[in-house]
């Protein structure tokens, strides 16, 4: 018997919720926001389940929704005036390059597309092909974007735009 949309999406959440949360968490740099976005992603999946035609795998479909939700989030974000570093207890320690907040700040200075490629290729250790599939890009675009991201990260890391640098 076919599953109801609710059961199907609940199953997808059990299978891929962690993977998507981990990625979104790194992209947005905040657990609460990541949770909201993951919730939005699966609610979106539930609402649009009728339109999912199973041409792609559910995982690919979920990653496409993730891409759209993240893009929408950053479109709205220009109203958000608070930076992570403004919250005193979350401020990074610039002396410690292994500090989690420091590394998250390093990620946050990359533009969204570069950040997502950097996270997938460097932190999540995914191949170019897999990254391209998840982003809906070509592998060439992934490689070029990664190259730019690493270049930008290097400038930041070496003190160009580093806090206190």
């Amino acid at each position: 018997m076919a599953k109801s949309p609710r059961e199907a999406v609940a199953d997808l959440f059990e299978q891929f919720g962690q993977e998507i949360f981990a990625h979104v968490r790194l992209v947005v740099g905040n657990s609460d926001t990541a949770q909201d976005l993951v919730q939005d992603i699966f609610l979106h999946a539930l609402r649009s389940w009728d339109r999912f035609e199973h041409r792609a795998s559910p995982r690919t479909w979920l990653w496409a929704i993730t891409r759209n939700v993240l893009t929408d989030h950053y479109r709205r974000r220009h109203h958000d005036l608070v930076q992570l570093s403004e919250v005193p207890e979350l401020a990074a320690n610039p002396e410690d390059p292994t500090d989690r907040v420091f590394l998250e700040e390093a990620l946050a200075q990359l533009p969204l597309a570069q950040r997502r490629v950097f996270i997938m290729r460097v932190i999540e250790d995914r191949s170019s092909r897999e990254t391209a599939q998840r982003l809906g890009w070509t592998e060439v675009r992934v490689r070029v974007t990664l190259h730019r991201a690493m270049k930008r990260m290097e400038q930041w890391w070496n003190g160009g735009e580093r806090p206190g640098g």
Binding site: R6, T33, V82, V87, P97, R100, L103, I123, M150
Partner: protein
């Protein structure tokens, strides 16, 4: 020494970012998302149906078009008033619309107020106030609203609301729900954004910059709280007239 080969560079960055491991989705968050998925109404719209071209009932289509055109021309004839669907809907619920749906309100938001008192004191345990629809969903704020729209009152923790002094004439407000503090500033009409700060809540808040903005609908501000349990997702604040009122609803 910096690496020059792209592969070496990639490895170098992997080593540097190794401390940034994937965060595990905590169980409370997982449970909350599961609960949210379980509570979300599933769209019941029928699947799109594609008629084979040969089977399209062109006769029926033509008849429907003719009937529509005739009806429309009669309705729009001089001296004929078009039906006011918005006021019909609100009068059916015993409520008077405060704003026309298109007046200062995004198209997917409407505000209605009950005939009775429109505000509740913070210390009053009864929910008295307007109720709001956002898109397809109805958020109730009134004990006078129809019974099926009432929230489970026992499940509602009463929020604490603080004014935050601010340089601009627009006032900022903060709402404490449980251990989280939500701060909002009335800055951008039509937009509302909340930010949850993680510091300890005290009644005498003095942040130098209130953090974020929310929008207002008529005399009220409506705020959506994300990342909180389903029963706390919308807050309605009215900081303009004392007593400062706030109600947290679904």
């Amino acid at each position: 020494m910096e690496a020059n080969d792209p592969v070496d560079k990639l490895e170098m960055w992997r080593r540097r970012f190794r401390p940034l491991t994937a965060e595990i989705l905590p169980d409370p968050m997982r449970d909350q998302i599961r609960a949210r998925l379980a509570a979300e109404p599933v769209p019941t719209a029928p699947r799109r149906h594609h008629w084979p071209k040969a089977l399209i009932p062109w006769g029926s289509v033509a008849a429907a078009v003719i009937v529509s055109v005739v009806t429309l021309s009669r309705l729009t004839a001089p001296g004929t008033a078009l039906p006011n669907f918005a006021s019909k809907a609100s009068s059916a619920a015993g409520l008077a619309p405060v704003l026309a749906p298109t007046q200062h309100v995004p198209s997917n938001q409407r505000v209605f107020a009950p005939a009775g008192p429109a505000r509740a004191s913070l210390t009053t345990p009864a929910l008295v106030g307007p109720w709001v629809t956002l898109g397809q969903r109805v958020f109730w704020l009134s004990a006078q609203a129809p019974t099926h729209l009432r929230p489970p009152m026992s499940a509602l923790p009463w929020p604490r609301v603080f004014r935050i002094p601010h340089r601009s004439p627009r006032q900022a407000v903060a709402v404490q729900i449980g251990g989280s503090l939500w701060i909002a500033r009335f800055a951008y009409p039509r937009y509302f954004v909340w930010h949850r700060r993680r510091y300890r809540v005290t009644p005498s808040l003095r942040p130098t910059h209130p953090t974020l903005s929310i929008g207002h609908l008529g005399p009220y501000a409506i705020c959506r709280l994300q990342g909180v349990p389903l029963s706390h997702q919308v807050a309605l604040l009215s900081p303009w007239a004392p007593p400062l009122s706030a109600t947290v609803v679904r």
